[in-house]
């Protein structure tokens, strides 16, 4: 057995865990670890420019690959800077392991230099956390952290490491455990067969069914199974913002996203359905609108690995706790045997009428079948996303920030594959897009990676342009430039009679062209619609350069549909500035 110091054990354990990248930033409390990494580690480390970006980059990496993201930060300010990114990962159930330095054990509690109670501060936003007390516990703790982060409902795990536990002169026998035993942690492996059978029967009896699939389908690697199920039954599918790509968007059975800014046909179908199959979706308030008015005629089957997601906001008629993959497999088997016995189910005539109704909705206000944005001599944001879609052949990884641009990207980029759409849904963290794109590009250097952003959001982590230079991550930044905190402005237009309280920057925006050039990248400004496609192509033709496309769009455009609130149901939507359902 090898004798290693605490710092060396960390380096070795990350290697044994198969970690591909560490995203981090050094400081006093983690210097022993950094020295060990420097001397011994084969795992490349990416030096960000702000610890928040380390967490988002690790998060982007995790969302794109399905593997856990790994972060290393120092104590005190390093740890607190990581908090927003940990919360972002927590809300979207992203597997992540965050190693934070801590002051030496004997100093804990003394308000020592750069001491902060990281375990305490992060407690409500982690799946679990550990504080190392003895250096010899390091390997087993790291193994446990990865196990917890990646199994069941994934999430971030923090390991707080006092400096003395990593000192180079104290050596220990290193052994990396293969298995983890945790008596109090056992995520469900299979759904209850009786429940699945009930679900199958209810599904087959449906006359107006909808499959409502969320991020859990992507996290549970079950897009193909979901697609198989939907095709087998010929049932319509809608995805949440987090679920985009779980079902191919260009498929005829796809209704588009549902929810606050969901497609008209998706929200109408949900509201009028008689059976909803919810898979890995958590009935978020951005989806349901007023809960008491949610889908009044629908019986709900809810598949989720986390019991707390079930009947939290909307009561489920048939709850099924289990991983989406095994539950869908079982469900498919049972459906098959039920259909063998009674081939008349489901009722194809009823289903035909349902599809006819859906097609009427589509033709009337559908986002892709009807033109949902006005003619303008300015560039409309939707046109930018359509152009991005064309130029990248619909096959790019698209990260986004938070705001109107995020919704336009979600609505107009048709994601046919899982893990291609990478955004902060639950926390809605501005500043996510650029570092996340970095993480994605490092994972898939040969793929196109675009970051759709706004001039507000991009400035929240713009310093990462420097990291992109250092590690040559030639992503394409698509800045939907409306000169406003557009999403805030939209609410102010709709609810505050256009009083733009703190949603403009007056004349204070930087010259983004000069800014990105100073970081060693390329800037392209686009102001006219005629040049949009060409500039987009130019940008993507520069394979090994980071290009920042500053695209001036119509600042007055709003995101529609938009749920009517308060007291609206799923079917109550604004469809444009002056039309509503």
């Amino acid at each position: 057995m090898e004798l290693l110091s605490g710092g060396e054990m960390i380096a070795k354990a990350l290697e044994d865990e198969g970690v591909e990248y560490i995203f981090g930033y050094p400081g006093g409390a983690v210097l022993h670890i950094y020295d060990a990494l420097f001397k011994t580690s084969k795992v490349p480390h990416v030096l960000v420019r702000h610890e928040q970006a380390a967490t988002h980059a690790a998060d982007g990496y995790a969302r794109a690959t399905g593997k856990p993201g790994v972060v290393l930060v120092t104590s005190g300010p390093g740890a607190t800077n990581a908090i927003t990114g940990i919360a972002t990962a927590y809300m979207d159930s992203i597997p992540m392991v965050v190693l934070s330095g801590q002051v030496a054990t004997h100093l804990i509690g003394e308000d020592a230099f750069q001491e902060t109670d990281m375990v305490g501060i992060s407690r409500p936003i982690v799946k679990h956390s550990f504080m190392i007390r003895r250096a010899e516990d390091i390997p087993a703790t790291i193994r446990k952290a990865f196990h917890i982060a990646t199994t069941g409902r994934p999430g971030p795990v923090v390991i707080d490491i006092p400096k003395d536990c990593t000192r180079p002169d104290a050596k220990f026998e290193y052994h990396y455990p293969e298995t983890v035993k945790l008596r109090s942690y056992a995520p469900a492996q299979r759904g209850h067969t009786g429940q699945i059978r009930k679900a199958a029967k209810l599904l087959l009896s449906a006359k107006r069914p909808v499959i409502y699939a969320g991020g859990g389908v992507i996290l549970g690697e079950s897009s193909e199974l979901l697609t198989r199920l939907a095709r087998k039954l010929n049932y319509p599918v809608t995805n949440t913002l987090m679920g985009l790509g779980a079902y191919p968007a260009t498929d005829r059975q796809f209704l588009g996203m549902l929810g606050m800014h969901g497609f008209y046909e998706a929200n109408m179908a949900m509201h009028h359905s008689d059976v909803i199959l919810a898979v890995g979706a958590r009935f978020d308030d951005r989806v349901t609108n007023t809960v008491s008015r949610f889908c009044p005629g629908a019986k709900i089957i809810h598949i989720d690995i986390d019991p707390t997601s079930i009947s939290k906001t909307v009561a489920a008629d048939i709850p099924i706790v289990g991983p989406v993959q095994s539950v869908l497999e079982d469900l498919l088997d049972i459906l098959e045997s039920l259909q063998e016995k009674d081939p008349k189910q489901p009722d194809t005539a009823a289903l035909g009428r349902w599809w006819q109704q859906i097609d009427e909705w589509r033709a009337k206000h559908g986002l892709w079948t009807g033109r949902r944005y006005g003619e303008s001599d300015r560039i409309m944001p939707q046109q930018v996303i359509e152009s991005l879609y064309r130029v990248t052949g619909g096959d790019a990884y698209v990260t986004s920030d938070v705001g109107q641009h995020q919704m336009f990207a979600a609505q107009y980029y048709k994601f046919d594959k899982p893990r291609r759409w990478i955004n902060s849904g639950g926390l809605g963290t501005m500043g996510f897009g650029l570092p996340a794109a970095m993480g994605v590009k490092l994972a898939f250097p040969d793929m196109e990676v675009a970051c759709v952003t706004g001039e507000g959001s991009i400035q929240m982590n713009i310093q990462e342009l420097s990291t992109c230079k250092q590690y040559s991550t030639p992503i394409k930044i698509i800045n939907l430039r409306n000169n406003y905190l557009g999403m805030v402005k939209q609410w102010q237009d709709m609810q505050y009679e256009g009083r733009y309280a703190m949603s403009t920057y007056e004349d204070s925006l930087p010259d983004f062209m000069k800014l990105v050039e100073s970081y060693g990248h390329v800037g392209i400004q686009v102001t006219r619609l005629e040049e949009l496609d060409q500039r987009m192509e130019e940008a993507f033709a520069m394979k090994d350069r980071l290009v920042f496309l500053d695209i001036f769009i119509d600042p007055m455009e709003h995101v529609y549909p938009m749920h009517v609130a308060p007291n609206g149901a799923m079917k109550d939507m604004w469809l444009s500035k002056n039309e509503r359902t």
């Binding site: 008596r183 109090s184 707390t308």
Partner: protein, 163 residues
């Protein structure tokens, strides 16, 4: 509705703060909380009483179960159970009140565990309700201090909460 939830918790630093944090973070009530080590040094036993409608209670038990440090959990109020709260109450006891207090204490089967020239300290165990009634019965007396352990509970009969 009032519920008594009993938990076997990993005896780890920070475990208790996860349980308590959960309640404040999600806006649930804790009415009483009792926690102490068990015969197994790796486990603490925690009893808490809380109120909420059925939907809230369902979320509370699910959320608690989800905590990695929670090893096992039971809602004692779902079955026959015994609950005990321990109270130490110090009252002004002088003159005629001394006898009066002694009598009331006897009726409630309490014990006077400390006697001062002008004070009595009474120990009483029972359900929370019984302790409440004792405090009410002491209304005439001058209550100086009330200390309660919070409810500790256990199921009746063969049913046990253990690994």
């Amino acid at each position: 509705m009032r519920r008594i939830i009993s938990i076997l918790l990993e005896n780890e630093p920070g475990a208790l703060s996860r349980v308590i944090g959960l309640f404040s973070q999600r806006g649930y009530n804790i009415e009483t909380l009792n926690v102490a080590p068990t015969e197994d040094v790796t486990l603490s036993r925690l009893t808490l009483t809380t109120t909420g409608d059925d939907k809230t209670m369902e979320q509370i038990t699910k959320q608690l179960n989800k905590l990695v440090d929670v090893v096992k959990l039971v809602d004692l109020s779902e079955g026959a159970h015994i609950e005990r709260d321990l109270m130490l109450i110090k009252v002004r006891a002088s003159g005629a009140m001394r006898d009066e207090i002694k009598r009331t204490t006897d009726i409630f089967r309490g014990q006077i565990v400390d006697v001062g020239p002008n004070t009595y300290t009474i120990q009483l165990t029972g359900t929370g309700e019984k302790l409440d009634s004792f405090v009410a019965a002491m209304a005439e007396a001058d209550i100086l201090e009330v200390v309660r352990s919070g409810v500790a509970g256990i199921s009746r009969g063969e049913k046990v909460l253990r690994l």
